[in-house]
Point group: C2
Chain length 549, copies 2
């Protein structure tokens, strides 16, 4: 078996093996790469994994855990510990490339049932062993690091079943470790969908979506994960919290909502009941539009959301730079239709693409889409067919897999995202853009992809050549300045990636001291011994030096 | 000034001065009343208010509070204390009729600003003076009683302004004490509505809606109050919690959600930012339907909610007994159209009314209504025009005002409500019905009025002659048995009235021990001295004997 760092830092997905020729062309143009530099592999991570930290668990402790889960489901070898020491945060991948695993767990444990999770949490509580719940490992916030050691609780290996589907209540109850594709396959087979399609869909789990408060690409229609959850079962050191599947109640405040965004710091989500929807993909109505400016596109998007005629499901705008790159990498740059567009005043560097789908009953979809087309026309947008949406949907998860081959080329690439009100959207967008563009040779693509009546998200992707030999510090400084800029101009700390350890240092300043005290008090109740994902996540406990930022 | 108990227990609304002749006829039929018994006024509460408990606050304490709010805004007379000792819970009104005020506050204090609330909470914390936040006093759960004395914090007198309206974000920021009519007047003037119309609308406040987790009559479209709140400002003994108006975030769990359903036990909500909607009442589309059975009506309602073609805003079904009474009190019983309906198989004792409105853009409303009419037809429902809906809307708040004149006639009348999944709806309905009907001479009306994809509420109204001389015990026993029946068959403790002191004894059994411990831990953090609405509310602290149940 390949036990190199590279084997850990790669998704292992075919799509990451090659960068498309048009993307290569872009790298040549933007970063000045040539045939030589394109051949070189930067920090490929080809060394064998070897951890300095020995597992800190006593044989007695390992024996107990083994007695709960069985021999096959507790691993303590270096490779497994390294594999479970991180998610997909840029800084973590960089560290692996540098042959560093700063915060490995002592063991990887894969429980087979809710009851086994209870046994383990009770044991780890009494023994003060840290527990890091792990789903699909697609976290981009450092939430899976184990700076205090302990066990990585792998929920995906066994706790991955659909427990029941209620076609009467229109809900599904699943084990937390179920992956996106498994869940959808089971639902689709019966004519339903969950409607939750984060970019990490193929590798993430229901429990991870909930713990990190994820959002799917069609969240404008189906809601964010917290709009989908109706009940949870959670094992905490202070007991099991099990809520019922009422659609709404007024019996005190909702406890299950505490675990949405808890990022493993309060307990282990073992089961969730989620809303489901009819699945009729052939009935979906879609449309792409182009606008002459970001302002016009955003204004139209707001009008659509604030009209009361039904809502789109997928709803996206790419800002001018992202639109230009879409034209280039899609091959439409300088095509006949591009020239026509330019003549109509849709100019590179200004124009913006908007994508829409409506995913209800067929006649409803057509009705809503007609209304949206009317609003877009009034907002000076031009309908450009359904082709671009279909093309986008075909590669909807792919851009996640291009990061690692880009890193092979020595290109720093990461994403940040925020929620904004409509009032502050343009300010956050333009100040983030101004900040990033101060760095030479930096591509900055922004889109809006999760939309509400009262505001939206902004999603930032940057690409820039690494500062060789100073990769981590260069990234940390640049990244930190961007976070500062977003917060200072009115954005939230995150819309759907979560906070983890990477954004934790901003929590108190952003939420305020009394809010932070409240979060910590709640943490203390559920986890008095601080065993649940300790060492910095959400800023609830002291951050240790080893943590990668 | 009239300082009788009667003056406190009445709303002071014209609509409660007289019972409509058809309702009188019903009372004759159902309860065997005659001209003599209809003349008698039972426990009219005509005595002068006189409290046994003297105000327990020291002059020094009163002086401090006076220095904060001014002379006019602190009241310690018996009448004011009695008036602020309760909401509109049946047991409280009965107590007033019996000349009893079991749990008055020591003083009524009306702060003029958020800052004054902060001063008061800080002072009351250090002096261990209980504080009961009070809005419109329409609580039906005993949540406003002051079993440990202290001050009733009257938010409605001064903290009742619209602070700002953002037409860009489509939100309104209000002070917590604003009433329904004030808020709507201000919004309507600018073309907006909040969409929140609880039956208590005319006398309740935004802060009360949020603290008790209320629901408006059009909640199926506009959402429950917790779906409307985007940000809160709350003064707690542990500091001020102020959240931002992002549409969604992923920065830990949402703290503002803790205060929705907190019922005054964690702090004082002083400001709220709520979503608003376009207000075009002339565009509203509406329809009434009649079904041959409750089962068919419920099945159709579920189908409508689970189709993906847009949702109604107001959506109601009356069960057969409520439908029969609507026919009788509406004067359609035995009319020509009633005879026609009977011939078509829509029989008294079986048939059910369904009301619908759709309140978006005009063509959207017509589209959705057409779809609903189609679904209703397939579900064997018959469209009976828009008249019944308009008639119902005209008197939408009135039934609240009939309770007190009925109590004058010695008739016990109260409401209970619950949330259910679709799977458990019929079981909760039929078992509640079976329980109530064991009591002789009891009218029991049930409707569904807040509907979701995954379930709905059930709203129960009962009327029955009081057991004279044993009014309180008779009620408590009967009421308690109904709550037990609802919970045992799968209903929630409440869907939108809240828990207060009346339902508190069921909290731990219903939520489970570890959930209850978590609620109490959160309470302890925000209110370590237990000054916020102490003495039983939500079951967070020991219940005192004096509390009226």
């Amino acid at each position: 078996m390949d036990s190199t760092y590279r084997n850990i830092l790669k998704w292992g997905d075919k799509r990451e093996e090659k960068i498309a020729p048009r993307m290569i062309q872009l790298i040549r143009e933007k970063f000045g790469y040539n045939d030589d530099t394109l051949k070189h592999r930067h920090l490929p991570g080809l060394e064998q994994v070897k951890l300095e930290k020995k597992p800190a668990l006593e044989p007695r402790q390992l024996d107990f855990i083994r007695s709960v889960v069985g021999d096959d489901d507790i691993l303590t070898d270096d490779c497994s510990r390294a594999r479970f020491s991180c998610g997909k945060f840029y800084g973590e991948l960089l560290d692996l490339r540098l042959g560093r695993v700063a915060s490995p767990p002592d063991a990887v444990v894969s429980p087979g049932s809710h009851d086994e999770v209870e046994h383990i949490i009770r044991f780890c509580s009494s023994e003060h062993i840290p527990v890091i719940p792990v789903g699909g490992q697609s976290s981009v916030t450092g939430a899976l690091q184990a700076p205090e050691g302990g066990i990585a609780l792998d929920l995906a290996k066994h706790l991955n079943r659909v427990l029941s589907i209620s076609t009467v209540n229109k809900t599904v109850t699943v084990e937390a470790g179920i992956s996106g594709p498994s869940l959808e396959a089971e639902l689709n087979r019966r004519g339903y969908t969950c409607g939750h399609f984060p970019q990490s869909f193929e590798y993430s789990t229901a429990g991870g979506w909930i713990a990190a408060r994820g959002a799917g690409q069609a969240s404008t229609g189906y809601g964010k994960i917290e709009d989908m959850v109706v009940a949870l079962r959670v094992v905490t050191p202070a007991g099991v919290i099990e809520t019922k599947d009422y659609p709404r109640t007024a019996q005190g405040w909702d406890l299950f909502r505490l675990f949405m965004g808890s990022e493993g710091t309060l307990g282990v989500i073992t089961e969730a009941t989620l809303r489901i929807h009819n699945h009729n993909p052939l009935d979906t109505a879609s449309a792409a539009f182009i606008f002459r400016s970001f302002e016009q596109a955003v204004e139209t998007m707001r009008k659509v959301m604030q009209s009361e005629y039904g809502k789109p499901h997928l709803f996206r705008i790419s800002d001018p730079e992202e639109t230009d790159i879409a034209f280039k990498t899609g091959g439409s740059d300088n095509s006949f239709s591009d020239k026509l567009l330019r003549r109509l005043g849709f100019l590179p560097g200004e124009r913006c693409l908007m994508f829409v789908t409506v995913e209800g009953e067929k006649d409803y979809n057509l009705f809503v889409l007609k209304k949206i087309r009317h609003t877009a026309r009034k907002g000076r947008g031009m309908y450009i067919g359904t082709g671009p949406v279909k093309k986008w949907l075909d590669q909807r998860y792919s851009s996640a897999y291009i990061r690692d081959p880009l890193m092979d080329l020595g290109i720093m690439t990461d994403t940040l995202e925020t929620a904004v009100t409509w009032e502050s959207l343009m300010k956050v967008w333009s100040s983030a853009r101004a900040y990033v563009k101060k760095r030479p040779k930096t591509v900055f693509m922004v889109h809006i992809s999760h939309v509400y009546e009262n505001g939206a998200n902004l999603y930032f992707t940057f690409l820039s050549p690494m500062e060789k030999g100073n990769e981590q510090d260069d990234f940390a400084t640049f990244h930190s300045g961007l976070v500062d800029t977003i917060l200072k101009n009115g954005g939230s700390l995150s819309h759907h990636h979560g906070v983890g350890r990477v954004l934790a240092p901003w929590m108190e300043g952003h939420l305020g001291e009394s809010s932070m005290r409240a979060l910590k008090a709640i943490k203390r109740h559920f986890d008095p011994g601080n065993i649940m994902n300790p060492g910095g996540t959400l800023g609830l406990t002291q951050e240790k030096n080893e943590i990668i930022r």
